[in-house]
């Protein structure tokens, strides 16, 4: 193995955090993409703006808000700990939450574009064949918007690997628990003589990103073939 213990720890932690982050945000992102595309209701514009907020806020602000809400004394954080024993602060689950919030708008956007292209005539056809609302969504809408779901998941995964500000603000920089690749790189730069370690971490990040791009292209092709395009 050419990676040091610290490096492989940061790498596997990054992958673990990004995976959790995507798993956490995928269901609500699909729901919100559908609601924002297909439903017309009062407050839709506000909901839309709220979803997009992390895109325009400084990540540190997002981290700070998370600290207020999900911190040990925050209203949601204290409830989660008492009711389920879930601790977010200083943990990788907390890191996953921070990255999920940051990448959420990217995910929803990709899904919406794809959903807007789904031919509603096909949903009507399913309807005349006896498919109810949930049935139609699961068997027609979701498969047809799959390219967008996939694109959203991959974008969000990549963004989660690179998230820095919100993570370090919310869950700090703890080796083995919240020190993902970008945080490790930052720490290396803060350490005297850490230039070499920083360069290695940068190379790992580049390789990871490149593999991700190739993998997403391969996935996209398979899905397109599945949909007959």
């Amino acid at each position: 193995m050419w990676l040091s213990a610290n490096e492989s720890e940061a790498l596997s932690l990054s992958l673990s955090v990004a995976t959790r982050s995507v798993a956490l945000s995928l269901p609500p992102a699909i729901l919100l993409a559908w609601v924002l595309t297909r439903r017309r209701f009062i407050g839709r514009t506000i909901l839309d703006a709220l979803v997009h907020l992390p895109l325009v806020l400084p990540p540190v602000v997002v981290g700070y808000l998370l600290l207020l809400l999900f911190g040990a004394r925050g209203p949601i954080g204290s409830w989660l700990e008492q009711a389920f024993g879930i601790e977010l602060i200083f943990t990788r689950n907390g890191a996953a939450l921070a990255t999920a919030v940051m990448s959420f708008p990217l995910m929803v956007r990709a899904m919406r574009i794809s959903l807007e292209n789904v031919d509603r005539g096909l949903e009507d056809a399913a309807r005349t064949l006896g498919a109810g609302a949930l049935d139609r969504f699961a068997t027609v809408t979701l498969p047809l918007m799959l390219p967008g779901v996939l694109a959203g998941a991959i974008t969000a995964f990549s963004a989660a690997l690179g998230e820095f500000g919100a993570v370090i603000t919310f869950v700090s920089n703890i080796p083995g628990e919240t020190r993902t690749l970008p945080l490790a790189l930052y720490s290396a730069l803060q350490t005297p003589g850490g230039d070499h370690a920083a360069a290695r971490l940068a190379i790992i990040s580049i390789a990871l990103g490149f593999c991700g791009l190739l993998l997403s292209e391969w996935f996209a092709r398979r899905v397109r073939r599945l949909l007959g395009r």
Binding site: D119, G121, L122, D124, A125, A126, R127, T128, L129, G130, A131, G132, D135, T139, V140, P143, L144, L226, L227, G228, R229
Partner: protein
């Protein structure tokens, strides 16, 4: 019985429709493009809610604004064949058919195998939908709609996007469905040839309104229908019974009204019903018994009406024995022959210019789907 009554405002367009179809039967919604045929079909399917009206199929009320009934499309059990087929691109042909089969209501009146056989779908089963030709797509769409075990089948210009030869690949299958499954159908079209071959009943639509309706024979004489199909294609459609085959000529003898026609027909089973179109422009009118002519078909009748038609011509309606036919003659001929209501005439038409289509007038009721409880 399918009874439909619907009013709907859509911007500047107003739908105001009312018709009844005796079931089983095929009703053609006929009219120019944009006259609201598809809107009406969507109301029947439940995909579009009418502002007011009612839709009743046999004894089941599907929609009634007065009684606040609006059965959602997924529970109406109405099959819908769309103009663009709308096959699911993420499923293959078999997958599309099974999709409908899995969600079908009961009782079932067609089996999967029967649909595959009637529509000849076996060779297509494992194909992806984008690998199908236009005609094949429509056959699959029809099969998929049938497998949902519908009580009524709506077909919205299923052949409009196909060229003439592809159309011929699908039409015979629709005739088979009509004759063998006895499922009530609403067939939307602006092509009178399709209507002629498939429909038993015709509802004429003009700018959102149903303006006339009746049996196909009666409606073939309607002035509104004539205006749409054009002077060249105008002609009476008469139903006759096969009397036998003329051994010397090989032509089929068909009893029509009081008289008899010799036509070229595919089927010649004695007693079979044939629908014959007598184009008005092909008919010759004589006021004395004609002799020494090559014409095979001479019908005697009485003029019932003379109406002026476009291009310096008149349409002469002739009763040939509880059946009306029409001849298109020049105004000069009308004057010279003094054609007027009440005048006995002879109508002549060449056997080669007649087109006959077989059809079952009253299909067996055994296979009919029944209303669910």
């Amino acid at each position: 019985m399918l009874a439909v009554e619907a009013k709907k405002h859509l911007g500047a367009f107003t739908l105001d429709a009312k018709f009844e179809l005796p079931t089983p039967g095929v009703v053609a919604l006929f009219g120019r493009s944009g006259c609201g045929k598809s809107t009406l079909v969507n109301v029947i399917a439940g995909l579009l809610a009418a502002d007011s009206g009612r839709v009743a199929l046999d004894d089941v009320l599907l929609f009634d604004t007065a009684m606040h009934i609006d059965v959602p499309p997924e529970r109406r059990r109405i099959g819908y064949v769309f103009q663009e087929a709308r096959l699911f691109p993420h499923l293959d042909v078999a997958g599309n058919l099974r999709y409908a089969e899995r969600r079908a209501g009961s009782p079932k009146f067609v089996s999967f195998d029967l649909v595959v056989e009637l529509l000849d779908l076996e060779p297509l089963m494992n194909r992806r939908t984008h690998q199908l030709s236009g005609g094949e797509r429509q056959r699959v769409a029809i099969g998929r709609a049938l497998l949902s075990q519908p009580r009524l089948l709506l077909l919205d210009e299923p052949l409009a996007s196909l060229d003439a030869s592809r159309r011929e690949e699908v039409l015979p299958y629709l005739e088979i469905l009509r004759d063998q499954l006895a499922i009530p159908m609403v067939y939307v079209s602006h092509n009178f040839d399709e209507v002629l071959r498939l429909a038993t009943f015709l509802v004429l639509m003009e700018s959102g309104k149903t303006t006339a309706q009746g049996g196909i024979g009666e409606m073939s004489l309607n002035s509104g229908v004539r205006a749409i199909i054009g002077a060249e294609a105008v002609g009476a459609i008469v139903v006759g019974t096969v009397l036998g085959t003329d051994p010397s000529s090989g032509l089929t003898r068909v009893g029509v009204g009081r008289g008899e026609l010799k036509v070229q027909a595919q089927t010649a089973a004695v007693g079979a019903k044939l629908r014959v179109q007598l184009l008005a422009r092909d008919l010759i009118v004589a006021t004395r018994a004609p002799q020494h002519l090559s014409v095979r078909n001479i019908l005697t009748g009485v003029v019932t009406a003379v109406t002026s038609d476009e291009g310096d011509a008149d349409l002469i309606a002739i009763d040939i024995g509880s059946t009306i036919i029409m001849a298109r003659v020049t105004c000069a001929a009308t004057r010279e022959l003094k054609l007027a209501a009440g005048l006995p005439v002879w109508a002549l038409v060449k056997a080669v210019s007649l087109r006959a289509h077989s059809f079952e007038e009253a299909p067996p009721a055994a296979a009919r789907p029944t209303a669910p409880r």
